[in-house]
């Protein structure tokens, strides 16, 4: 294979990786856009009722949200471009099927951007009672935006709202496409994930501060308020995930077969943890000693039949190991987090006075942010790679949707460099903000600001 051939004939591999990278990066930022307003609302309300530490924390978090929202907005724009640049074959055929959902998502994002602009810049200029109300449209638009974007993704898993007659796409009903049968569970799953990621990340950051000795009310609130959100979302998530998995068993049985590493259709299918699928079976894994557990989870019966990979030809099967590993990592982390919040609940009701005095719990907290992000990313890998080789399940193959552009390797490498730079710089900026707060600064004036102008020499 010559390099020339690589560049021109095979845009599929770099295009898929570029999409994965763009989505994987953006989704983390999107979580904060969706979930921060609700946490801010709680803090701001406490602040409006006289809690100075809560108000200061809300002020800080609004600044953090401003930075995260900015890079979220621009990375979201890249995704919009990529829908056409990388997948013109998808958009030219189905752009008008899923377009309404994207348009409504655009409106949601518009509302969020407008109110964020007002909220972040209204400190000291609006009374607290009025100021906090600016968060409500953001909470709602975050939820509606998540719904519409998940609607498009769930449509790719459960395409509906059109007919194909003689190769032509006809009878389009964009509303039916939005309310496809997969949307509800996928939406709930992602909404909960967004709240978990944002909440656990804030818990992590403030737990580190707590363990380093910054044991003031501000840090206490920085742990407890997001922890309350996480403690509600985390136990619900496995239940939603379970029903989403059962829906997959009916709708995308090959995706489920890849998750299980199940080569042929069988009944009484066990669950095998770990191991490696060698093309015929999973080797080296540990079988859970409950016979037919996978059958039960998928079909509510221990001896139910589960469809295997060989139900379809090899070229219609997804890469099994990526899907399996990702799924098991997601479930593993989700279970761990559920155990942790169970303990949190116990401790809150039994030892509230000394709630934060358990260093092991705090150490566990410091890991929850990264853990929840990994769980969300592996969840996305499970569903996206599990749908391959289809971009629209059963209807349009990814290789038929991809661009024939000869630039995809270049843009992939470019994107890697730019996003590494952007995330590193963003991380650096947030870290420096945190250090300046710890050092007692409040306004975080820019180096060009009037109060720092004496620092400038020329």
């Amino acid at each position: 294979m010559t390099p020339d051939h690589l560049l021109i004939a095979d845009a599929l591999l770099p295009a898929r990786n570029q999409m994965a990278l763009s989505l994987g990066a953006h989704i983390i930022l999107a979580c904060f856009g969706v979930a921060m307003p609700a946490m801010l609302f709680v803090l701001h309300r406490m602040g409006a009722n006289g809690d100075a530490a809560a108000l200061e924390l809300a002020k800080r978090w609004s600044k953090i949200s401003g930075v995260l929202f900015a890079i979220g907005a621009v990375s979201g724009t890249i995704l919009a471009f990529e829908m056409g640049l990388l997948w013109p074959g998808l958009m030219e055929q189905y752009g008008d099927v899923v377009g309404l959902a994207f348009t409504l998502e655009g409106i949601s994002f518009f509302v969020e951007a407008i109110f964020l602009g007002m909220y972040v810049y209204s400190w000291g200029r609006l009374p607290a009672k009025a100021h906090q109300l600016l968060l409500l449209p953001m909470i709602i638009s975050g939820m509606s935006g998540t719904f519409f974007i998940m609607s498009v993704n769930s449509w790719m898993n459960a395409p509906t709202g059109f007919d194909i007659v003689n190769g032509q796409i006809v009878n389009i009903n964009p509303w039916a496409a939005i309310f496809n049968e997969a949307v509800f569970l996928q939406y709930l799953h992602m909404l909960l994930a967004a709240y978990m990621v944002a909440a656990f990340t804030m818990v992590s950051v403030y737990s580190v501060g707590w363990l380093r000795g910054r044991r003031d009310r501000l840090h206490r609130l920085g742990i407890l308020v997001p922890l309350a959100f996480a403690a509600i979302a985390t136990p619900i998530q496995p239940i939603v995930g379970h029903f989403a998995g059962q829906a997959i068993a009916d709708r995308q049985p090959i995706k489920l077969a890849a998750i299980e590493g199940l080569p042929v259709t069988e009944s009484e299918v066990p669950i095998i943890l770990g191991g490696y699928y060698d093309g015929n079976e999973v080797v080296g894994g540990i079988e859970v000693p409950i016979p037919g557990l996978a059958s039960f989870l998928a079909q509510n019966s221990f001896d139910a039949e589960v469809i295997g990979l060989n139900d379809v030809p090899v070229e219609d099967q997804p890469p099994v190991n990526v899907v399996r590993f990702s799924f098991q990592i997601m479930v593993g982390i989700g279970s761990g987090l559920a155990l942790l919040v169970t303990y949190v609940g116990y401790r809150w009701f039994r030892h509230r006075d000394t709630f934060l005095d358990n260093p092991w719990m705090l150490r566990a907290f410091t890991l929850t942010g990264v853990a929840s992000i990994i769980a969300m990313e592996t969840g996305w890998i499970t569903t996206e790679v599990g749908r391959q080789p289809w971009v629209v399940h059963g209807i349009l193959r990814t290789e038929d949707a991809v661009t024939d552009g000869n630039w995809v390797w270049f843009t992939l490498i470019g994107l890697i460099i730019v996003y590494l730079g952007m995330f590193a710089a963003g991380f650096g900026v947030l870290r420096s903000m945190s250090k300046r707060w710890a050092a007692g600064e409040t306004d975080l004036e820019s180096p060009y600001g009037p109060g720092r102008i004496h620092e400038l020499v020329s």
Partner: protein, 330 residues
Amino acid sequence: MSAADAVAAVMFAAVTLYAVSAGADFGTGLWDLLAGGPKKGAPMRRLIDKALGPVWEANHVWLIFVIVLLWSGFPRPFATIMRELAIPFWFVGLGIVLRGSGFAFRKFAPTLQAARLAGIVFAGSSFVTPFFLGTIAGAIASGRVGTGVEDEVIWLSPTSILGGILATATCAFLAAVFLTEEADRSGDVELAEELRLKAFITAAVTGMVALFGTVPLRDDAPTLFDGLTSRGAPEIILSTVAGLATLHFLRRRQLRTARIAAVIAVAAIVLGWGFGQYPWILVDSVTIEEGAGHPATLTALLVAAGLAALIVTPALVMLYRLADTNRLSH
């Protein structure tokens, strides 16, 4: 008016709003670059931070709206545009990422060095991005997209280059007028006068580019030229008048009125392009009717646009009023 025409009209209204609002934001890049060393340039950069901070993200969303309406309402022309104009779109994407993150990071940069680096990234990408957007517009308007032109880079044709220069100049002009008013309002007379001069110069340059730019259009983009001199002529005349009015109001230091005149001048020229290329969505290749998606989607998009007008307009007015009355700042 057919449903396809109506969706195209909504889309073009969004293009115009993007050009006017985000155009002013992008245009600040040039003045930020030229503001001088850290101390000398501090007032200008502070002004730009303050002016853009609350509004740039909302202004940016118009572009996303345009892209989404294009693929929803006109999926096949959208795919053609993205296939044939991928390279300038990637530059636009790069510019947008660098502009947004550069701007957000500069505000909270801990040190002067970090702020300068973020500032150069923000200002440089702000300056470059409209150029590539302009080349995209030029390629479509000149009848090179979807028409099988193969012996040239279609986004580097004379019309594209004109589009790029005109977009860049227009942004700088809008930004200068907006910032003059902003500086005046914040009481910095010296900076306001400096910006007023910049506004004069860029108004003259932009006017010249627009005026003499039409000369190559006659041969390079005949369909657009015919449209601009017939259906689009009222908008072009309006733009000229509004441009001259901007100069007049700038001279008399009626800065708020000058700002309105500048907005009209730019909006009119963008609308002139739209009327000029009607009924084509891709000039000389696909008409609005031919390129339109399914009727049910077009109807739904119009419903969504109505919804957007009801929800977004009051919110946007509120944002601008808060920003305008100096109640928002930081």
